[in-house]
């Protein structure tokens, strides 16, 4: 069940999910699609890691599930960002840019 395409940096999947949901509520496959598209096909997430992440984020109170009709008019489970999730996304994103800037400056130094 290894990640096909680019492997995700450990612990970033949660942040990517939150970011994706920041735009609009989506169902599971939609989230995977969006991540793949936006990353230009670099990140491909499989259900084996995506769904447990939903469960984790839901339990933490960062996202909340809701049942809606999907594009083909079937009942589907959508996830939406909560206020706590927005806060969490902000702090994770800040932390991420701080760290990646630091890593970049280490790599550029020579």
């Amino acid at each position: 069940m290894g990640e096909r395409g680019g492997a995700l940096v450990q612990g970033t999947l949660d942040m990517l999910i939150l970011k994706t949901l920041a735009l609009e509520p989506l169902h599971g496959y939609g989230i995977a699609q969006r991540i793949e598209q936006v990353s230009g096909g670099v990140f491909r997430v499989n259900p084996g890691s995506l769904f447990p992440a939903f469960r984790r984020l839901e339990r933490a109170g960062y996202i909340k599930p809701m049942w809606r009709a999907s594009e083909n008019n079937r009942r589907a489970k959508y996830y939406a960002l909560t206020a706590g999730g927005q806060k969490q996304l902000r702090s994770e994103a800040e932390e991420w840019s701080r760290q990646s800037a630091a890593i970049a400056s280490i790599l550029e130094a020579s």
């Binding site: 069940m1 169902h27 599971g28 496959y29 939609g30 699609q33 499989n46 259900p47 084996g48 890691s49 769904f51 447990p52 992440a53 939903f54 469960r55 984790r56 839901e58 339990r59 933490a60 109170g61 960062y62 999907s70 083909n72 079937r74 009942r75 589907a76 489970k77 706590g84």
Partner: protein
């Protein structure tokens, strides 16, 4: 907030499981549909798209499993499942389960039993209010005047008290019946913060000079003798013939200040005047009988107590100098210093004696448990191997290794819990036996074994540790299976890792068993050395009779003489003597003597031990007179003072001389020398106070020349039993003087009591050594049988090609010999390192005794080879055809 959603989400998932599962199904199905739709859009045929989407997802079950695992509730559910599944599996293997639980119960039970003994004797706080505030005022012991000074002068304690243990005869005459007595000062119960269970406790007002005879009963005594009835209050109890009024009952669980002992009845110190007559101990400055302790005032630390006691000491000691001492001793007395010692766990004479042996025993039972765990680990490994196919199947179906390992460990914890429960029960039973071993004829040991948090915690910890110990290895190896070979289950699959692991296990068992065997061997031989030691007298067929007259009696000597004469005339009695002290009674009387010979020991080196005996004493105890004469009727108060001395005294105090006819002088009160005593005889050496002692220089003086009365111990030599003689002896004593009280036990029992510690150690070490040997042999046999089964095909081929049964036997036995050599080599190293701790406990041999080591190794080798042979014979008896047909 997030904790809350987490909790409610988990609970919902647990209690509305059906719904949650349906939602999960639906969600995953939606995913598949969406993925398939996407693929169709990009040009796949619908069938192909669906198959491709499903392939992308992988096993739907394992995705679901991962989703479930993301929530905490899945842990609990999995645990429940594991427990149910494990119970079902264990039920299917009742023999295995029984063996494991029983082995564990023995191991855990032994550990719990020894630990509860350590807990009860060394660790437990006294059952009183804030025991940690209690401080003993440390001095060997106190006289009543000294104690009164401490009480008057001290200012660091919120309460201070003195106490002493004693025993009181309850029966007015005839056979004695003793109650354990506790002398207490007035503030005793108040300072300890005890509340009466009935009536009231003794108070300050009850402990004044000329006090009324009042007594407080212990709760246990009250229940046992008064049925816990309120009618006891106000009733009268007879103590050594003196009537005391019962005023109350101490709370349940309170046994006194001394661990290992419990009181029956407690009376105030002032009441001692009633017992002593004119020479009351209340004013005696050299009657040392009390212990003192207090409760620290709030905010006062040990350092302050120490400083204050030291500062007060000159005043305290200066006020109560024993006036009959010589000047030098008085000077040293004034310089003594009182020091505090923590008393939260009470005081105990048992501690000094048993602390080190208990440590040794704890290590011994720890090793036993280790060996037992190794056996179970070995069994588990075999079981895991037998279940290889099941495991492989479950792995292939998508169970994770961690999941399987968790289930195996659950199984171990369950077994271990069952073992611990049974073990606790074993331990209770073991504790009763331990107490019996600790008790002597003079001293019934009492220890509070009621389970407390510390013991239960210990047992739980041991059980969990054991489970990990025997569970983790098998769980690790058991789930590390090359899938294909395990499913095919080829016979050769398993000689490797598991076989080697089990050989290692058995090898360490052999090594550990050797350590235990050597320990047991040393302790058994040490005990045997003591038991077979010639104490210098013949311990068998002698009854010791102690006679007490009801009150001071001027005719006492005549009464005792007459009793001795009549005892000697009883049918079945071949000899009777009388003495002030009996051998190994732990009563001693010693003082310095000055020999008339040159180069004799002087000053404090010149200590001699005394006894006063009748002429028939030596004959009755079969102590041979080596030179000179015995006492006779001519030795009276008006004739020359005479003595019979033992060989050691003759050798040391009259070096190179014939001691007969020479004299020595006894240092009396205030170190003044008394009139010369002439040596008239030399008797063979005998032990005085303890079997372990180097024989002490001993002086025997005739009772007829004794100043005080009090030589009231009789030695009666008879082939008849104590029970058969008791009535005749009692009637004889009563016939001479009515109202005499007598106590009878055998000299043999008194000698046995002098080795109670060694007997306890030897018995326990022997038992556990044997247990370890049996366990190790079961392990060895099991492992070899297993390996033999694994090599069945190999052996079959060898035999089919013409190898004789002998060579197959040889193949297996070579493995056994190698294992044994390794185990014994490692064990010898361990044993040599470990037995050093036995050091001072041993008697008559060193901790590195090579004979014991060799014998232990020999025994271990013999038994191992037998176990190995039995397993090897199975291999040799193999029918090659059937072996090859297998699989």
């Amino acid at each position: 907030m997030s904790l809350w959603t987490n909790l409610t989400g988990g609970l919902r998932a647990m209690f509305r499981k059906q719904e949650a599962e349906l939602e999960m199904d639906e969600e995953l199905r939606a995913w598949l549909e969406a993925a398939a739709a996407q693929k169709i859009r990009s040009g796949m045929s619908p069938a192909e798209a669906r198959r491709s989407a499903m392939a992308d997802m992988g096993s739907m079950e394992s995705v679901k499993e991962e989703i479930r695992a993301a929530g905490w509730e899945s842990g609990i559910e999995a645990l429940g499942r594991d427990v149910r599944f494990s119970i079902r599996l264990l039920k299917k293997a009742p023999f295995f389960t029984a063996v494991v639980v029983l082995t564990l119960a023995l191991g855990i039970g032994a550990n719990t039993a020894i630990f509860s003994l350590i807990d009860a004797m060394l660790l437990r706080s006294l059952p009183v209010r804030n025991a940690e505030e209690l401080v003993e005022v440390s001095h060997a012991s106190f006289t009543n005047p000294l104690w009164e000074q401490v009480r008057a002068q001290q200012d660091v304690f919120s309460g201070v008290f003195a106490w002493s243990t004693d025993r009181f005869n309850l029966s007015p005459s005839g056979m004695v019946s003793y109650a354990s007595g506790l002398w207490v000062s007035g503030d005793f119960f108040r300072t300890l913060g005890l509340k009466p269970a009935a009536g009231r406790l003794l108070t300050d007002a009850d402990d004044r000079r000329g006090c009324a005879n009042r007594a407080v009963l212990s709760y246990g005594y009250w229940e046992q003798h008064y049925g816990g009835s309120g009618g006891a209050i106000g009733s009268t109890i007879l103590l050594d013939g003196h009537p005391f009024q019962v005023i109350g009952v101490a709370p349940a669980g309170f046994f006194g200040m001394d661990v290992g002992w419990k009181f029956d009845v407690s009376i105030p110190i002032c009441a001692s005047a009633v017992f002593d007559g004119q020479q009351s101990r209340l004013d005696r400055r050299s009657w040392w009988w009390l212990r003192v302790a207090g409760r620290r005032k709030a905010g006062i630390g040990m350092a302050q107590v120490k400083a204050r006691l030291a500062a007060l000491s000159p005043t305290i000691f200066g006020a109560v100098v024993p006036t009959n001492w010589d000047v030098e001793s008085q000077k040293r007395f004034r310089q003594r210093v009182l020091a505090p010692a923590p008393a939260a766990t009470g005081l105990s004479g048992l501690r000094a004696q048993y602390e080190q042996p208990l440590r040794v025993l704890m290590a011994v039972v720890g090793l036993v448990l280790l060996i037992a765990s190794a056996n179970i680990a070995s069994l588990q490994t075999a079981r895991a191997a037998a279940r290889g196919r099941e495991m492989a199947m479950r792995l292939a179906l998508g169970a994770s290794r961690a999941r399987l390992a968790r289930q195996l460990i659950t199984e171990c914890v369950l077994l271990s819990m069952a073992g611990a429960f049974l073990g606790l029960w074993f331990a209770r039973w073991g504790n009763t036996i331990l107490l019996r071993y600790l008790s002597t004829v003079h001293n019934t040991v009492f220890l509070d074994f009621s389970p407390d948090g510390r013991v239960l915690g210990f047992t739980t910890a041991v059980a969990v540790l054991t489970a990990l110990l025997f569970g983790v290895g098998p769980a690790w190896w058991g789930t590390r299976i090359p899938l294909t070979s395990a499913i095919k289950e080829t016979h050769a699959s398993d000689r490797g890792i598991r076989g080697r692991l089990r050989l290692w296990i058995v090898g360490s068992q052999v090594a550990l068993s050797l350590v235990l065997l050597v320990t047991a061997g040393l302790l058994l031989r040490s005990f045997r050395n003591l038991a077979t030691l010639d104490p210098g007298f013949d311990r068998d067929h002698v009854l010791l009779v102690s006679v007490t007259l009801p009150r001071a009696n001027e005719r006492a000597e005549a009464v005792y003489d007459e009793i001795e004469r009549r005892l000697r005339a009883l049918p079945g009695v071949t000899g009777a003597g009388r003495s002030w002290n009996t051998p190994l009674s732990h009563v001693e009387w010693n003082t310095n003597i000055v020999s008339d010979a040159a180069h004799a020991p002087q000053g404090d080196d010149a200590l001699a031990y005394f006894n006063f005996v009748s002429g028939d004493y030596f004959d009755t105890l079969r102590m041979r007179l080596l030179a000179g004469r015995n006492f006779n009727a001519g030795d009276t108060t008006s004739s020359m003072a005479v003595a019979v001395i033992n060989e050691t005294l003759a050798r040391r105090f009259f070096p190179g001389l014939d001691a007969i006819g020479r004299t020595f002088r006894v240092e009396g009160e205030a170190r003044k020398l008394e009139a010369p005593v002439q040596v008239v005889g030399v008797v063979k050496d005998a032990k005085y106070e303890s079997l372990r002692e180097d024989t002490l220089a001993t002086v025997f003086r005739p009772i007829s020349q004794m100043d005080e009365t009090g030589a009231s111990n009789f030695e009666v030599r008879t082939k008849l039993s104590q029970a058969a003689m008791a009535d005749a002896i009692r009637d004889t004593a009563a016939g001479v003087s009515r109202d005499t009280s007598i106590e009878i036990h055998t000299l043999a029992a008194q000698v046995d009591d002098a080795m109670s510690r060694e007997r306890l150690l030897a018995a326990l070490a022997g038992f556990f050594g044997g247990l370890a040997l049996v366990l190790a042999m079961i392990g060895l046999y099991g492992t070899l049988s297993y390996l033999v089964t694994q090599r069945r095909v190999e052996f079959g081929i060898r035999m089919a090609l013409g190898a004789p049964a002998q060579s197959i036997l040889g193949l297996v036995m070579r493995d056994v010999a190698l294992l044994l050599l390794g185990g014994i080599a490692a064990g010898t190293g361990l044993a040599l390192a470990a037995t050093r701790w036995l050091g001072s406990i041993l008697f008559g041999l060193g901790p590195q005794d090579s004979a014991t080591l060799a014998a232990s190794a020999g025994l271990l080798a013999a038994v191992s080879l037998t176990a190995g042979y039995l397993a090897a014979r199975r291999a040799a008896k193999l029918d090659p055809i059937s072996a090859l047909r297998h699989d």
